[in-house]
């Protein structure tokens, strides 16, 4: 190592790449979550512009379940690295 003052250029690039991948993952997760809950919860024939209570409640539950599924699957994939 040339200097111990901070991370080297290679490490910085690696961290930046990981952060970029993480950002892409987060954006993709948000897009999938939004699309999935929109398809599930909102009727196709939009009768008004505001979300009514049933749709609101459905979206709450949909997001909560999606998040739990994401966490659960992440834990399963994390605990079994040989897959």
């Amino acid at each position: 190592m040339a200097s111990k003052g901070g991370p080297s250029n290679l490490e910085k690039e690696q961290m930046f790449g990981m952060a970029e991948k993480e950002m892409e993952y987060r954006v993709d997760l948000f897009n999938r979550l939004t699309h999935s809950c929109f398809e599930k919860c909102i009727e196709k024939r939009h009768k008004e512009s505001e979300l009514n209570m049933g749709e609101n409640s459905c979206i709450d539950r949909c997001v909560s379940k999606y998040w739990q599924v994401t966490n659960l699957v992440g834990q399963m994939l994390g605990n079994k690295p040989q897959i």
């Binding site: 009768k47 505001e50 209570m53 049933g54 749709e55 609101n56 409640s57 539950r61």
Partner: protein, 170 residues
């Protein structure tokens, strides 16, 4: 680049058209106040209280109207002033009683519809039918179980009809 000229031309044409048609606004994410303001309307207690107040107002109006139409029994013996006083009292009594009935009806209907819709997470006429059944049954429960059933079915049908009447664009 072609875009500045085209946007300028569109702006020139837009200001002419804007006076005739609405300008399309860009998308904004809702602020926290807007979300909270809309969330108040998602609260079952707030909704049922507001419905109760509206029902009470409707009951007052109906009581005034129908109380004024009532004829006093001893019309020939009273002077004009006595008749006016009697009619006013009649209107007041009737409107208070009507207001109470309609307010209770509004609270029960709104609370039942809100709870059912939140539990089902769907916006349907089934919510209205169930809420109407609960309201009709609750109002007719003093007449026994059969009266409650008849009240349930009748009020459910009535509320579904009213909902379909007010939702013509479905």
């Amino acid at each position: 680049m072609a875009s500045p000229e085209s946007s300028a031309a569109a702006a020139g044409a837009g200001t002419d058209a804007a006076s005739q048609s609405a300008v399309v606004e860009p998308i904004r994410m809702p602020t926290a106040e807007e979300i909270n303001g809309q969330d108040i309307w998602n609260n079952c207690a707030v909704r049922s209280v507001v419905s109760g107040v509206m029902g009470g107002g409707l009951g007052v109006l109906m009581g005034l109207f129908f109380g004024a139409l009532d004829n006093p029994i001893m019309a020939e013996e009273m002077t004009a002033r006595q008749q006016i006083v009697y009619t006013a009292k009649q209107m007041g009594r009737r409107s208070m009683s009507n207001a109470k009935t309609f307010a209770v009806m509004g609270v029960i209907f709104s609370a039942a519809e809100c709870v059912v819709e939140k539990a089902r997470a769907k916006h349907d006429t089934t919510n209205t039918a169930v809420a109407g059944c609960v309201t009709g049954g609750a109002l007719a429960v003093k007449g026994g179980p059969q009266a409650a059933c008849v009240g349930c079915a009748g009020f459910a049908a009535f509320s579904v009809l009213i909902e379909k009447f007010f939702d013509r664009h479905t």
